[in-house]
């Protein structure tokens, strides 16, 4: 697979998107307050950066995201490695996981607000839940699928826990775990905005609500663009990191 996101492809596809957007706006003759033009969105974007301090909100969102996502991934991988080795116990835990997994993190929001109050925590907890289950289940499955030869080699050389986990099982399962960590990034980013739309007084989700309350469709669109761009950047950055790690393994 060649680079999916070459600069040329990105520019062309964004140019076409903006062109279509402009066409719909021109032909449709929509009200500016309901459907802003690309120009309106870009000037709102400019306004966000110059007059409002949008970077503070971006920073607040990123901080919440980092805390929620990283802690979730660490917990999920750690628990997944242990449960992956304890198949007998996992049999009993799996039904509960399968019950909890399809519940949207947003459904827990009323409880989260009741228990933790408003502020940073609801968004962090929502992100934590969003990333947790996919990474946990994928880690358990990755540990189960490790080539049995690694276990035999470890036995042959007398490698015991906890070295076995750290030196053999984690790296052997890593490619599949990394894949799920990557996928969970997108999911978690989606729920960041949702989490911040309730209770938060800063951040990108808060800006969405704020724009709505002020009837600023142009600002709303500008914030949506920022959310998309940051999501894209995060995804690309993690993809590069993943590739770099796998490269040091001599894999292509």
């Amino acid at each position: 697979m060649k680079k999916l996101l070459s600069v040329k492809n990105i520019l062309i596809s964004f140019a076409v998107l903006i062109l279509i957007w402009q066409l719909i706006y021109t032909i449709g003759g929509f009200n500016k307050a309901l459907f802003p033009s690309p120009y309106d969105a870009v000037s709102a974007l400019k306004e966000l950066f110059t007059e409002d301090s949008v970077l503070t909100d971006v920073g607040a969102s990123m901080a919440r995201f980092a805390v929620g996502y990283i802690s979730s991934v660490i917990c999920a991988v750690f628990l997944g490695l242990i449960l992956g080795r304890l198949k007998n116990i996992f049999q009993y835990i799996n039904p509960v996981i399968q019950l909890l997994r399809p519940i949207s993190p947003m459904a827990w929001l009323p409880f989260i607000v009741l228990w933790f109050g408003i502020g940073d925590i609801p968004a962090v907890v929502i992100i934590f839940i969003a990333a947790f289950f996919p990474v946990l289940l994928s880690t358990v499955s990755a540990v189960g699928k490790i080539d049995p030869i690694y276990t035999k080699v470890s036995k042959s050389f007398g490698i015991k826990q906890p070295q076995l986990m750290w030196k053999i099982i984690l790296p052997a399962a890593f490619p599949q775990i990394a894949n799920s960590i990557h996928l969970a990034l997108g999911t978690a980013w989606v729920f960041l905005v949702a989490g911040e739309m309730v209770g938060a007084q800063s951040g990108l989700g808060y800006l969405i609500i704020d724009s709505r309350n002020n009837l600023r469709a142009d600002t709303l669109m500008a914030v949506i663009i920022i959310i998309g761009l940051i999501g894209l950047l995060l995804d690309t950055a993690l993809g590069l990191l993943e590739k770099q790690i796998l490269k040091t393994w001599g894999e292509n």
Partner: protein, 256 residues
């Protein structure tokens, strides 16, 4: 005797029916001997090896190494597998160091020992390469270096050259014979290749399937260099062909 196997047997339950993988195996092995377990697939040669190595102990009889019953793999012995079992995320040097990490030796010492054995298998230029960048033969050399580095008493080899091409296989056979003589290790080597067994072994344990058992034990009385085309070599090879009833009999009776 160093390794003492007495009336060893192994039964599996497979889909509700009992399956005998190994039956009534009695064998004694001396220290420093090179033993080949030879036979067609299903003859229990790998089962026997896994039992002696302690991965899957026998269900009947007993296997003792140095007077002690084998119950689990011992770090004094090392197994080399057909598919190498190298860790792809570690480079050659780190792979060879793997077995040394469980021992209480300093980092520098570890590196020195690893480099010595990488040198011995002729891979000094590849110590920083990763296993997937190497050919099959080179990967198996790394596995051999890794096994030798921990200075084991016994090396178990489970069809180690089965996945290699003929020329590479012959080269590695030469290497392993030299190593067995220079390092004075006891080696138990599983193979289905008759010539390989005759070239390597001090004694060949010929096994037959259904159920897996020892058919006979053939000594290879050739000392020093073994020429694959010499009369002695062909004589032993002939003996094994006879055991397997694979020799062409010209005076066969015709049945119409």
């Amino acid at each position: 005797m160093y390794i003492e196997i007495q009336n060893a047997g192994k039964k599996f339950i497979q889909n509700g029916t009992e399956f005998t993988a190994l039956e009534n195996v009695t064998l004694s092995i001396e220290k420093g001997e090179f033993i080949c377990l030879l036979g067609p697939s299903g003859c229990g040669k790998s089962t026997l090896l896994n039992a002696i190595a302690g991965f899957e102990p026998v269900t009947e009889g007993s296997i003792k190494i140095d007077g002690k019953e084998v119950k689990e793999p011992s770090i004094k012995n090392v197994t080399i597998f057909q598919n190498y079992g190298l860790l792809p995320w570690r480079n050659v040097l780190k792979n060879v160091e793997l077995g040394l990490e469980s021992k209480k030796i300093s980092k520098d010492e570890r590196k020195k020992i690893a480099e010595k054995y990488i040198d011995l298998v002729g891979l000094s230029n590849f110590r920083n390469s990763h296993p997937l960048q190497l050919s099959g033969g080179m990967q198996q050399r790394v596995a051999i270096a890794r096994a030798l580095a921990v200075d084991p008493d016994i090396i178990f080899m489970d069809e180690p050259f089965g996945a290699l091409d003929a020329i590479t296989r012959i080269k590695l056979q030469d290497d392993i014979r030299k190593i067995s003589r220079d390092e004075k290790k006891t080696i138990i080597f599983v193979t289905h290749d008759i010539e390989e067994a005759v070239y390597l072994a001090d004694r060949i344990v010929v096994m037959t399937p259904n159920p897996g058992k020892i058919k006979s034990i053939v000594s290879v009385p050739i000392h020093g260099y073994r020429d694959r085309t010499s009369g002695d070599f062909l004589h032993v090879r002939n003996q094994i062909f006879e055991i397997f009833n694979m020799k062409y009999e010209p005076d066969i009776e015709y049945i119409i």
